[in-house]
Amino acid sequence: MKLKYFLLTIFIGLMWGSYAQKYITKSGRIDIVSNSPLFTVEGVNKKVASILNTETGELVISMLIRSFEFEEALMEEQFNGNYMQSKTYPKSIFKGRISNIKEIDFAKDGKYKAQIEGKITIHGITKEIREQGLISISEKMISAESEFYISLSDFDIKIEKAFKNSIDDKVLLKVNFKFNKQ
């Protein structure tokens, strides 16, 4: 009986140890902006999940395509239907790491440049990406931001002929997360 409690204590201790460096958000924000001379399309997803391991630098991001909101209802329909085909590909995932994690002192307030690399899956297609981000630490709160472009053609997202000239292949992604300790 005593052994049981002893093992349980060790187990909880180990769990605690492995959990200690993990930070999580379930309400991260990603904005997408498509700019062209004719019109600007903006969408926002305020339900992005992410886990960051501050020890190893491992970073996972996951979001559901249907959670993107657009001002115009028709844009939202088009985005889910023709472009992202959210019925077939309901989510996008990033799995990778912050490669310079050792340069970030999570115990000290400040802003740190982060090198992010890994695999991103959009519209069922996985690509290797390497982007820059910014990690801000303030009173043990970790926030992360990054802005980068992706190319629609890289992910086999097709634009109808009628909109070929009015929708740019490059789409801006603006990432904004506030992590909490798990």
Binding site: G28, K46, K47, L64, L74, N80, P90
Partner: protein
Amino acid sequence: MKLGQKIILIITGIVLVVGIGATCYVFYKPHRNIAKEKPAFKMEASGLFGEFNMNEDLGNEKFGDQVIQVTGKVAEITIDDNGISIILNNSMEAINCTIDAQYEERARKIEFGDSVTIKGRCDGFDMIMGVVLSKCIIIE
């Protein structure tokens, strides 16, 4: 006026009306009103999670983009810049409900452990978030 001119005038008129109509349709088409929609499914939070957990693809096929009414215990409440999220069932087997902006006032009265019924659009399933319901309204 000659018949030909009349026809041209009528055609021009029709094209104009259709054109304006189409433009209005694009820019003023209202968003789907989840509050007014009848739920396609009424179920317990644990049952909904179970179906997705067993087979995510089947879950998406059955519940994706559908309005679902779920009943469960409040396990977590998150209020931040990105709105209010209420997590039903439990944190590991969650139904993650994003509350519609119009119902935030009502949502603030909900407390941890309450049993609530929420209706929303199912966006899908994720390992971290669980089953995600959007534009949720609080039934009781």
